[in-house]
């Protein structure tokens, strides 16, 4: 977009109108009035985000398929996985809790990862994904509700509480959730909606000039 004149950007937190300035790799631009982060020049944003999102998706499947941990009492073992916990809550007449956990720990991260892959994979291959607006919007609305990192802390707290009374055996999903937390953080850090819009909007931009 070298032929475009300086573009304008309005701060999402204070609405101050500012000119966009080109950034060095890895730098970020902050609003000159309120200090909000306006945009970043993330290194290879699309490539890296896609790589993180794909590996996160694989780990997410693993994390949901295997037991998180098991407890042993009198030789009996009972293990739990995430979906099993959701079902148990439903059966205990704690339906609202069951729904909230299901949405925040399973549905939201799934939608988030699938949307990212759906958007970034075609872009990486030089194509424009159909219906991208819907997915970009979904991504924005879903993002606050994916709470895998909070769930991970929940696992750790439960683990400590359980070790007071039981012998606890960690499961595969415990490690997967740990790694997933890191990968999702990396995905979020490398994703730049601005870069994606720039790629998607090439040719259809109708920017306002000063």
């Amino acid at each position: 977009m070298a032929d475009q004149p300086e573009k304008l950007i309005a701060c999402h937190d204070c609405d101050l109108l500012q000119r966009e300035v080109p950034l060095n790799k890895g730098c970020m631009a902050r609003c000159s009035r309120c200090g909000a982060v306006l945009y970043r020049n993330a290194t290879d944003s699309i490539d890296r985000t896609l790589a993180y999102a794909l590996s996160a998706a694989v780990l997410f499947v693993v994390a949901n398929s295997f037991p998180i941990f098991a407890i042993e009492t009198q030789g009996d073992q009972s293990a739990i996985n995430l979906y099993g916990a959701v079902l148990a809550m439903w059966d205990q007449e704690m339906k609202p809790i069951s729904v909230v956990v299901f949405l925040t720990a399973i549905v939201a991260p799934t939608i988030e990862l699938l949307s990212m892959i759906y958007l970034l994979l075609p872009l990486k291959l030089g194509k424009i994904p159909a219906g991208y607006t819907l997915f970009m919007r979904t991504l924005q609305y879903v993002e606050p509700w994916g709470m895998v990192e909070v769930f991970m802390l929940g696992i750790l707290v439960s683990l400590v509480k359980l070790t007071n009374n039981f012998r606890v055996v960690p499961g595969v999903a415990l490690w997967s959730f740990g790694a997933l937390t890191l990968l999702l953080a990396a995905t979020a850090a490398s994703f730049s909606a601005r870069d994606v819009w720039a790629r998607l909007g090439q040719g259809i931009d109708r920017e306002v000039e000063p």
Binding site: L8, I9, A10, H12, D13, C14, D15, L16, L17, S32, R33, C34, G35, A36, I68, I71, T73, D76, S78, I80, A85, V86, L87, A88, M89, Q92, M94, P96, I97, S98, V100, V101, T104, A105, T133, M136, R137, P144, W145, M147, V150, F151, L153, G154, I155, V157, S158, V160, K161, L162, N164, A193, R194, W197, G201, I204, D205, R206, E207, V208
Partner: protein, 212 residues
Amino acid sequence: MNRKGLSAARLGLYSCHVCNLVSRPRSMSKQSSCPRCGTELHFRRPSSIARCWAFLIAAYILYIPANVLVMMETGSLISYRKDTIMSGVIHLWNNDNKMIAAIVFIASITIPILKLISLTFLLLSVQRRSRWRPRQRTALYRVVEGVGRWSMLDIYVVTLLAALVQLGNMAVVKAGPAAIAFGAVVVLTMFASMEFDPRLIWDPIQDEESHD
């Protein structure tokens, strides 16, 4: 502070809340949509203050049962106890799980209170068109928005424990009614902070500057 700054809205420019594109309204009479992504455009979030209050008041009301009622029942052959959020934290502290007690205290008690008070303060200051420390108030909003999700911690802990410890007569862990109320508080305060439009903090300052 940037004294010469002008907001996009003051110049009659929309800023898309989905794709951030700045655009000029195409026709003044009709509802505008973003030329890049087609999202319906508004200068400010529509009825931001009213909606934020609605979620916030609902959260305040549910905050009472969330703290008074039983969050978790734990029983074994030798003991049986019903814990509220606070008594659960105290029990953890006394059982030498001080680290975990501190984490749960921050997530379940400090953060919800911080959110409720901060959002109330932000709403009141915006309604009174306060010009007091807009930068700090914006920063406060960012903290509230970023930290709120961590309150969900206790909900996850209760879910995992209750699901796991269902071994008949050996031990029982059950979620209490406070869990539902507390979950609702977390969700409602998240909605409240999403509805709040931080640009409203800056509008009185903007108006003052342009009258100079």
